[in-house]
Subunit: 243 residues, 2 copies
Amino acid sequence: MTYCVAMRLSSGLVFVSDSRTNAGVDHISTFRKLHVFHQSDERVLVIQSAGNLATTQSILSLLHRRSLDATVPNLLNVESMYDAASLLGETVREVIARDSGDNQGGMTDFSCNLLLGGQIKGEGLRLFHVYPQGNFIEATHDTPYFQVGESKYGKPIIDRVLTYDTALEQAMQCALISMDSTLRSNLSVGLPLDVMTYPKDSFSDAQQYRITEDHPYFAMIRKGWGEGLLSIFAQLPPLKLEK
Amino acid sequence: MTYCVAMRLSSGLVFVSDSRTNAGVDHISTFRKLHVFHQSDERVLVIQSAGNLATTQSILSLLHRRSLDATVPNLLNVESMYDAASLLGETVREVIARDSGDNQGGMTDFSCNLLLGGQIKGEGLRLFHVYPQGNFIEATHDTPYFQVGESKYGKPIIDRVLTYDTALEQAMQCALISMDSTLRSNLSVGLPLDVMTYPKDSFSDAQQYRITEDHPYFAMIRKGWGEGLLSIFAQLPPLKLEK
């Protein structure tokens, strides 16, 4: 399984992905699920992936290969984020059709869900959720974040804290706490994390980090959050139920 | 959908159920999902239900009707909670087999998940999760709670707070916060709530309450919890990510 969350805020984008993949419970591996396409001072595109690993790796391989060929539409030459989402959707359909084509898979689930966020010069920040069918939705002012994978454990804290105008730093904290809640409740989501902050109009992919088990800041907010929860809990008014 | 949680602790049992049912998004109703079988000073059995409403109502109707006939095994005369779980499992199989028998349902999902908790004189507290197949698992010291229905949103807070030795009052608070997190993130779970506390060896079903939107205590802890979360969040150490 997987948990990825992406946020599109007034001041930038935030991305957090785990890195655990599993086929059953006894074939567990670590794969990066956050992928960046960067053209200096002109565009930054970030793709996060959940679902069938063969499908998502093929999609990424094809996107990378094609981005080297300026004669075909690719992520480094499309004119807008909308065109990038559309191209990603097409690639999803292409790979799933190829792999499931002769139906040899039987019950195999070839599907995947992808998040695509970024900025291309001339546009604002945009964030899309691309479905296994290749169609997609875009984040708005009212709904500034998307999740893919094992999303439910980590949703309540985001719903409570995040708005479109949340600062990037707080949004990253919120995403990390959301990830922590998921890590605690679901074994199929695991460290290390790949995280990235993209400040609006920076056209830079510099703020990428990998967070491992012993990352001091992550350990500190996990601890601070856990202890804080227990302390609010202890301060709740005494139970008073009446008919 | 539904969210029910039950806890088996050293000092008693805690049950919290929502009451929303839906078939699609435009057929939403309120049905009680917490049902009590009580024999004064001798046994208290509580059943919580999630899944196909026709199935769960039929199961409850049959259990109630049979509990009036002392010549058949029923929830008021079985000797142990294990026998009660076994009887409940049989009834699940009976109803699902009957309703899905001639396969007229096609793709219909007739299944349900049930929680059964309580105490029969001569035994300690016991709590079971009965699956659609009629088999069941029992809560232990290590895993003192079960959930059915839309369980993921409300799981992280229970995992952080609850242990086998948590006091009943705190456990009820924890269950209500877990429910609050679920209510906020999923429209298919809704008020009013049916809640019950069963103190060990009381053999009483007196501590049952219905919590509606304007219940003062529930409103107070929802508010206290929400504000508390935001205040811990504001106190987290400033973001510091490094390569």
